[in-house]
Symmetry: C2
Subunit: 266 residues, 2 copies
Amino acid sequence: MTGKDQGADLHPIGRSPVVILVRPQLADNIGAVARAMANGGLFHLRLVAPRDGWPQPAAWRNASGAQRLLEALTLHPTVEDAVADLHHVFATCPRPRHIVKPVLTARGAAAELREICHRDLRCGLLFGPERAGLDNDDMACADALIRYPMNPAFTSLNLAQAVMVMAYEWWQTIDETPPRALMTNESPVAPKSQLENFLTHLVDQLDACGFLRNAPKRPGMVRNLRHLFQRGEVTEQELRTLHGVVTELAIGRRQRGRLEKDMQDP
Amino acid sequence: MTGKDQGADLHPIGRSPVVILVRPQLADNIGAVARAMANGGLFHLRLVAPRDGWPQPAAWRNASGAQRLLEALTLHPTVEDAVADLHHVFATCPRPRHIVKPVLTARGAAAELREICHRDLRCGLLFGPERAGLDNDDMACADALIRYPMNPAFTSLNLAQAVMVMAYEWWQTIDETPPRALMTNESPVAPKSQLENFLTHLVDQLDACGFLRNAPKRPGMVRNLRHLFQRGEVTEQELRTLHGVVTELAIGRRQRGRLEKDMQDP
């Protein structure tokens, strides 16, 4: 029907794969698919012979802000028509049998899709109807199959969830977030010298109050405290708070000490 | 109200993280969460103060075979109660602000969860209510935050989709499917010698019919045919089919040749 990249302006990073829903049954799912696509930076949706016709209000209700994808989607009578302008087509297929075709994981497929799009070729992802999945004729239109590694003991995967996994993996191919980072919106991580200042303050006060009076045990106790505060990155703001906590606790102790002394020396 | 690993028998690979839905609003979503969890090999579900009470029939309708997770889930009045028996708690949080806590990607979190479970410690994943997400008090119960890298221009993530991403990443930490594999359920991939036999057969027939009669172009044409058939792995069954195709085409040509000859020599 059309090969135009409608919605391409929504996507900042060049081409992205077309999602093709083959004979989808539930409009609810079509809306949820649009939402999942937008989550992962996929913007081009095509429908092949939706069971209940098109458009369907339920799809709009379920799209949660991704209605633009629904408005831009194209309708196609057959899979052949829907893939006619594409260069590479991958078919999702939970249980491929008796088909001699490359099988990719979702992650492997996302990497290949990214590479194909970098070469400015157009690619598509086929998803089958909710109940039965893609049939053999549908899969014959594809260059390769995608089988997500998921729990083989429970393979009933919702259509929008299946799209979500591919959309998520697609986004991962461009994201460069490190797997672990410290969030420090308010205060920088303190250098070790500031941590040392605090530990000195703490140990001084613990000496003063007698907490460390057991001389043989003192080195081990101090070391354990150092280990505890070294465990994570501590920010400068947190250190200021900790200094305050120690100071205030010590003041309370000293005041109580004075009070007790006053009571003993009336 | 319990830390027992209900449903552990469903999971073949030791401990798995507990999914904790904090103040979930829609029973539909709770059912869809159970289904997504089963897809990714997560089996322990806890609810903190579900808005509409519990149980809710809509959850059962949406669980598509994962009802067992719903039957085994536990109810908790507070987040503190729901995490009391756990050793590590990660909180999903799309937009962490002003919180000094490690932030993990979904993939990074899955790797850490796997490592923690390997040490036989119990860990949990907090997911906030549909509309507002986790509040600051909820996040204060967590050791680290998880922020999926997803399209920052469209962050409206359905609750069950959010659980799906973590369930999927959890399963990836145990799966060893190579990113690309050839599916050959019926026939083994042919060794190169069999491909060579076919190419010889093909070229012989093309020589016989005159297709390669242009001597200067012949080497390039033959090379191009070789390239074409070398592009993918070809199975033994496919080669048998190709031999048949060439033979049959050649027979047709020879028969037509004989027919034409007969017509010319009546």
